[in-house]
Structure formats: C-alpha cells, structure tokens
Amino acid sequence: MLGGYVASILAAGWITLSLALVSLLLAVLIGIAAALAKLSHSRTLRIIAGTYTSLVRGIPDLVMMLLVFYSLPAILNQKAQDLGWNVYIEFSPFVAGAATLGLIFGAYMTETFRGALMNIPKGQLEAAQAYGLTRFRIFWRILLPQMARLALPGFTNNWLVLAKATALVSLLGLPDVMFRAKGAAEATAQPFTFYLLAGGFYLAITAISLFALSLVARRYEVGVKELAR
C-alpha cells in the first residue's frame, strides 16, 4: 500500500523536472538579454535591466509566485472588464510557476552572465570587429562560447537553487513531488516518511546535477588549461 504512494511521488518527479527545465530555459534567455542590456550603450536599456534585477531580488520567491498566480490575473481581468471585454484570464499553476521562476532566476542569471561577459578579454571583441563580423556573429561566435565557460560556476549554483525552489509551486496546487508527498503524508499519517522521501528526491537532483555539471566544466576547461601551460 505504501509502495503505491512512493511510486506516485517518484512519478511526479517528471513534473518537477519539466517545471525546473522550462523555468531554466526562460531564466537563461531572460538572463542573456538582461546581461546584454546592462552592458549596452543605451542608458534606457541599462536602467530597465537594473530596475528589473533589483526589484526581483528584493521580493521573496513565494510572494512573487502569489503575485503572478493571483494578483496578475486579477488586475488583467479588472482591466478587461473595464474595457467591456468578455474574457476571463487564469493561469495554470505550471504556467504561473514557470513564469515566476523564470523571472526570478532570470535576474540571478543576469548577474552571472554579466560577470562572465565582463571577463572576456576586450582584444577579442576588437579583433572580431576588425575582421568585419556582424554584431550577431560576434555574439554567437566570440561572446557566447566563452560566456558559457566563465558563467558555469554561477550557472550551476543558480540551477541548484532553482530546482529546489520548484517545491514552492506545490503551494499553488501543481501535482509535483512535494504536492504528492503532502497528499501521501496526510492520507497515511506518516508525514515524516514521505517528506523524507521528497527530501531525498531533491537531494538526488542536486547530487546528479553537481556530477553532470562538473563533467561539463572539465570539458570546457580543456583548451584553457593547455594554453596556460
């Protein structure tokens, strides 16, 4: 009987993982865009990106999630009603969760990527410009590959925090690992056992990610070590 609960918790691992990966993708895209904005010549872009990162980092994850899940649809529906539109907007927990986590970790990724971009030697950019590469090519061929290497430690850290933060979306009702563990805990009166199992799941994600990303780091550092010698 308990085996059924264990299976349902572990099966929900896919929901947790897909939520984490979708959020990560969003966060990386937002992070790259905001990092480029922060380093751009345009004052407006710099101010927008700066406001975004400090605003997001000043508000707790949970409050941000409640804002996106409850407050945002409320204000949108209010506006739609004022305009006389007959629509009702509602976000699913998955969409709200992924959007929130993408927004929050986008801000952390921005700082990681900005630091990495700033550490790329300036001469490389000048050389690329001298070769007449277009701005997109410079980004794609010169900036992005090196940024990936320099940003890897910060990226690893952000990913680990993000994977754990997905547990909060269970509070919105997404049937993820944490949600199933709560269900099993309440049904069997064995909360310790099932929350411990959920904890073990997140710990396993952390351990596997650390191992996999250390392999990636080794791969990226191959050329650097040879040059240093």
Binding site: G58, I59, P60, V63, M64, S71, K164, L168, P191, A198
Partner: protein
C-alpha cells in the same frame, strides 16, 4: 481598486512586519553563533568532524526549505515517543518549528560561507600567530574569527537577504508574518491584487535597508581588504 482595505488593515501589516523581523533576526542570531565553531570544525584536521559537518551542510543545502519545514512541523508528530515527551507542547508550536527549521537551514549555508572564507586566509597569518606563541583559542579569537568574518561579509549579506525572504514560508504553517497577513486579507476581502503588492513593497523596503546596512558594514570592517586589492 480597493486600497482603502489596505489602509484599514495597516495595523495587521505592522504586526506581520514585526514577526517577519523577529523570525529573521532570531534565526540569523542563533545561526551566527552556531556557524562560527562549525566553520572551524569544517576545516579541522579531524576527518570525522570535517566530514560530519560537511554531510550536514550538504543535506540542508541540497533539499528545499519547504520540505525541511514540513518534515519538522508535520513530520515529528509521526513518532509517538516525541508526541508523548515533555518537549511536545514546545515542539508542536509552529513558531518553535519555524525557527528551528530556519536555524538548521541558514546555519548550513553560513557555515560553508565562513569555512570558505577561512580557506582563503593567507597561511602566513596563521603561521605568524603560531610563531608568537598564541594558544589555539587565542589564535581563533584574534586571527581566524576576525579574518573569517570580514572576508565573508559580502556573501553573508546575501545570506541574510535569503533568510529574510525565506521567512515568507512561515505563512504555510499558520504564522501571520507579512505574507500570512496578506494571504488572510485576500481571503477575507476577496481582493487579490492589493494585499500581495503591499507585502512585496514591505519586503522590498526591508531588503534594501539590509543591503544598505551591509554596505556600511563592509566599508567599516572590510575596507582593509579593498585597499589591498587597489
């Protein structure tokens, strides 16, 4: 817009903000005292001690705070030995569980921050202290601790902000701190926008204040590290 509801309930927000600050300060203060000896132990020559503390920080840094909170608040009731012990009135209180969880969690992060700073200490400073004949205790008090604390000030500042934000989870176990108050107002008045925006603004002000305090602290106590870099 129903901002008048917020204006009528500002007293509740003030109570909530008090509890949020209390949870943050209490957890950080206890964790600070625990982390200093643990950080020394994390770098000790005794392999058992080193790995035991390492295992503790890995477990508490590798699992979500929400899981830890539920494990302690709901999970402990599973064991009749705990339910029947004299400590149960204390252990069944949400406030005690919340602070215990926050302390266990933030101590793990703080220990690693302090231990990392200790590892970056130039060996010459410790050797000099030894050459002066300082006892291990004097060495820890005069050399290791000050160096460790000043060097980790920036990272520790981030951790305090994380802790402030983490207190919002206390609302999930019935405590009425800022997030809990906001949630109650949404349920009582059936408005979804204003209460959470107000809560977010309160956290924003608290965070900015904390960041400012740490910048001042850094200028005051870690200035010598800056000068060396320049």
């Amino acid at each position: 817009m129903s901002w008048d509801v917020i204006a009528d309930n500002l007293g509740l927000y003030a109570e909530g903000a008090k509890l949020t600050l209390f949870l943050t300060v209490a957890s950080l203060a206890i964790a600070f005292l625990l982390s200093m000896p643990l950080a020394l132990g994390r770098n000790s020559h005794n392999a058992v001690l080193r790995h035991a503390i390492g295992a503790y920080t890995v477990v508490f840094r590798g699992t979500p705070l929400l899981v830890q909170l539920f494990l302690i608040y709901y999970g402990l009731a599973q064991f009749s030995a705990i339910r029947e012990s004299i400590l149960w009135p204390c252990l069944s209180s949400p406030l005690v569980c919340v602070i215990a969880t926050f302390v266990l969690n933030t101590t793990a992060y703080t220990t690693e921050i302090f231990a990392g700073a200790l590892r970056h200490l130039p060996p010459g400073e410790v050797e000099a202290a030894r050459a002066y004949g300082m006892s291990p205790f004097t060495r820890a008090r005069r050399i290791l601790m000050p160096a460790m604390l000043t060097r980790s000030l920036a990272l520790y500042g981030n951790e305090t902000v994380m802790m402030l934000h983490a207190t919002s989870l206390a609302s999930t176990v019935t405590l009425l701190e800022v997030t809990g108050v906001a949630r109650n107002i949404t349920l009582n008045y059936y408005i979804m926008f204003e209460p959470y925006v107000t809560a977010a603004a309160i956290y924003l002000v608290m965070t900015l204040t904390l960041v400012l305090l740490f910048q001042l602290a850094q200028a005051r106590w870690a200035g010598y590290l800056q000068a060396r870099l320049g």
